[in-house]
Symmetry: C2
Subunit: 339 residues, 2 copies
């Protein structure tokens, strides 16, 4: 049993640095593209056998030290009563714009509303048979709320920011409801078998430090407090958050993911040297040669040397065009240089 | 004659804080939308009378303290021999991907290649008749190069980053050529009548500090050095650059624009208290009420109090959906609270 990842998250001794990659299951793998030739993204994500299959693909192909549930951060919109389509980006026909929209949100039980998530986790634990741990995940409440308000992705997220600035009470009411449902969503993941929970805060980087603290961090913290008694490592990853690191000290996670823009050594210092750090190779490095990949991997391993622990990862998700040999070169470099 | 803007840029005494807004000429103004009903974006930009007309609109409508040439940061692709279409985002059919593509770049004289830019400036100086100063602009070499490599906008800019990481010599050769043409492009703007030059570094925020210094900052600095003997204020604005501010100390500008994510007081400290700062209201604040706009405007004026000078602006461009009354409320608030 390879439990390197869980041990690193818990600051226990490890023989080498564990590694997994955000979006490791996906279009960069030929076997994933093969599955996608037969089914669309939504069907794949909602069909437990198939979702489990693509979750395990990078474990087989790349030898990563953890699997992460194949799913989407918008899944918990369903128990909130919000329907999301993928065309292929997420589109919400009835977004949450006003106080009345917030009041209308539902609070269904995730296990009844999105049972496929939990079934996928149960299948995965059986099929993985402790080869590597399984990571569950969700969006941070702010990030999920931003999608609900915009009705999908956005360049500027001006409706979301307009809500925070103009109607902060409505924004807080929305964030409370989203937090409550997300908490149920991830607690049920742990009870179904997820061995760690990562929160993805994709849009935190839009926020000024003050607004981050008020509208984002406090809900992240609340979620992690609720997760505390579940006993699994809690990982927080906020994209583009170099200006927020000294606030993130208070996030309540065990592990903090750092994007590629900030050195792990500097990030650890800003985080108060109190978190296991995760990251942070720029995914675009994987477009260069194996020699460049190896050199940059070593730099990152060295940069993490002073932190209380390190889980190697990219600074953002694997890019779809990444050659699979380069992913393998990266995993090999981490194994070789961190032993 | 209102020369508040130029005086603030030069650290001379001002009666109140000057204000202009990035993308102040554009879809938020009904008179702009009226012009656009008749001509498309490219025609508008390339027709000097019309480009001058929309450049002046916000001076009339909002009472801003500077006009900025209505144009596009991709215009200097033309003297480099690269054709850009707008559909409506920029699309480059033959992007610059390899060393051979870089060698093939032309170095035409901007005044011959894009004469409409200089004709627009001459018309503007005549029509403005010193009511307010006229700002010229260009993209930073890195930002223009990123568009040339990607062939347009991009979510991840992985081809650009792949070039920097994988073929740094080719990247530098490209950046040198882009810098040379951009230098000619902006020097000619000054000679046609532009009274200040702002460099927009839209994609700097993608870069790690080390790569920013190597592939971006040095070319910005070179451009500003070339501009030095033209005697006009030089403004550098890098979006999403909170993690780069201590590097930006060496940019060689007179004024540094700061996006909304970092307080002006903190930015000024990171910049070594040596630049006039420009910014930095979140454009999404303009989606909220005039009361919220006024309160947030005061906060920003206070935050800038310790810097060697302040030019009020947004932290990014005006959002298309912004109500014109809210723009007016903002200009009124700056006038009222900075006097």
């Amino acid at each position: 049993m390879n439990d390197l990842y869980l041990r690193a998250c818990r600051r226990q001794p490890v023989e080498r640095t564990p590694v997994w990659l955000m979006r490791q299951a996906g279009r960069s793998l030929p076997e994933y593209r093969e599955v996608r030739r037969k089914v669309d993204f939504v069907t794949l994500m909602q069909t437990p056998d198939l979702a489990a299959e693509v979750t395990i693909q990078p474990v087989d192909r790349l030898g990563v030290d953890a699997a992460i549930l194949f799913s989407d951060i918008l899944v918990p919109a369903a128990p909130l009563g919000i329907e999301v389509e993928f065309k292929p980006g997420p589109v919400i026909e009835h977004p949450v714009r006003e106080a009345a929209d917030v009041e209308r949100l539902r609070a269904d039980e995730p296990e009844e509303s999105v049972p496929f998530v939990y079934e996928t986790i149960r299948i995965l634990r059986e099929q993985l048979a402790d080869r590597v741990p399984l990571i569950g995940f969700a969006a941070s409440p702010f990030t999920l709320a931003a999608y609900l308000v915009e009705g999908g992705g956005s360049k500027s997220f001006d409706r979301t920011m307009g809500l925070l600035y103009g109607e902060p009470e409505t924004a807080h009411r929305l964030l409370e409801k989203v937090t409550e449902t997300t908490a149920k969503y991830v607690v049920a993941q742990v009870r179904a078998g997820a061995q760690a929970i990562q929160l993805f805060d994709t849009w935190a980087g839009l926020l000024h430090r003050r607004d981050f603290r008020e509208f984002d961090l406090r809900y992240v913290r609340r979620l992690f407090e609720i997760l505390e008694c579940e006993g699994v490592p809690r990982i927080y990853f906020a994209l583009n958050s170099g200006h927020l690191l000294s606030e993130i000290r208070d996030c309540g996670a065990d592990v903090v993911g750092v994007d590629w823009r900030t050195d792990l050594a500097e990030a650890s210092r800003l985080l108060g040297d109190r978190f296991v750090v995760q990251g942070n190779l720029d995914p675009a490095v994987l477009m260069a040669s194996p020699e460049v990949i190896e050199r940059r991997t070593r730099t990152i391993l060295e940069s993490a040397a002073g932190a209380p622990g390190h889980v190697f990862n990219l600074g953002h998700g694997v890019l779809p065009r990444t050659p699979v040999e380069h992913l393998q070169a990266l995993i090999g470099a981490v194994r070789k240089h961190s032993a």
